[in-house]
Amino acid sequence: MKHSAFLLTLALCPLLLAGCGGPPRANPALTSAREAYATASNDPSVVANAPVALQEAEEALRRAMAVWEGKEDTDKVDHYAYLAHQRVRIAEEQAKQRAAEKDIENVRNERQAVVLEARAAEAESAEARAAAERQRAEAARAEAEAALARANELAAQVNDLQAELTKRGLVLTLGDVLFDTGQASLKPGAARTTAALVTFLNENPERNVLIEGYTDSVGSDESNLSLSQRRADAVRAALVGQGIAGSRIRTQGYGEAYPVADNSIPAGRQQNRRVEIVISDAEGVIPARTP
């Protein structure tokens, strides 16, 4: 018991001493002002950019410390601590201001470089656009020339074919002179007539043909239908024989339907006995026959 009382007394001794002659009681406002000053004075930007303001802050802090060490009223210590703290803040703001002002110079130079870059890019892109425009114009001109050449060539070929331009497109009519009466086999001279068509089909591989057979009104419908189909098939066989792919050729026998002339007179009947070859458009399409 005595021992512990002694220990307690020993422990209280420094406190008693502090109460008497030690430093004054800590002041929170002063402590935070000192901390703020320590932070600012360790900030290279504040040291470099606001040396005078930092010194003023230091002086204010010294005054506050002196007041505190002089054990003046808390109000007074608070007041001087407040002044010191505000001086630290002023120094920090000044440092920020100077740093920003230095930044402005750099950023202005950077902006100037970017402006030049923008102008260069604009010129570059204008040049690229102009070049692209020239290229497009050139391509369009070449395309137009090619189309014209194709049209001219086609016109010449059509001329060679002696085909006729109708609502269904180009139609080549082969007269009955190619066949013997009632027969479906082509006469030997027919090859010369179909040669122009073969040339045309070879030069225009995208075009297909529809071969249509027609007769006059003499004889039964069935025999006429059959004869017209066989004649159309004979022309097809001739074309295939000269190297045209069978897939490009369709045939259709119409018999005595769709007469083009009067069947009551010999000349009219001769006109009606015919094979029409309808040439497709460039997409290979042949419109259906309408009466």
Partner: protein, 128 residues
């Protein structure tokens, strides 16, 4: 004459005490003009927007200083005047740094816009 001389020392003493008392109890009145013009400068610089709190503090403290003076509380008046002054100075510093920063930000923004334009024009030029 003899009668009067008897009173001279005591009068001098009283006068001296009176003057001393005057000088001792009365600090020189705080100079508020510096604080007042610091507040005006801060206001002029645009502290109302950049540092409204500091500006308000400064004004309030100056007002309180005037009231303290009316109460004859010289020390309090001096403290408040000094605080108003430092608050106004901080308001000014804050305003100036905000302005400088705004100028930097504006420049940076214009650079960003320019770069976007460059990218766009490169893309539209290079696409063909």
């Amino acid at each position: 004459m003899k009668h009067a001389r008897r009173y001279v020392p005591s009068t001098v003493l009283a006068l001296a005490l009176f003057t001393a008392g005057c000088a001792g109890s009365r600090m020189p009145p705080p100079d508020m003009s510096a604080a007042r013009s610091a507040i005006a400068d801060a206001d002029q610089a645009g502290a109302g927007e950049a540092a409204p709190l500091e500006l308000r503090n400064a004004r309030q403290k100056l007002q309180q200083a005037e009231q303290a003076l009316e109460r004859d509380d010289q020390e309090r008046a001096a403290f408040l005047t000094d605080e108003a002054q430092v608050d106004a100075e901080l308001a000014q510093a804050k305003t100036r740094s905000a302005k400088a920063q705004a100028a930097v930000d504006e420049l940076r923004e214009s650079i960003r816009t320019l770069r976007e334009e460059i990218d766009r024009s490169r893309k539209s030029g290079g696409a063909q």
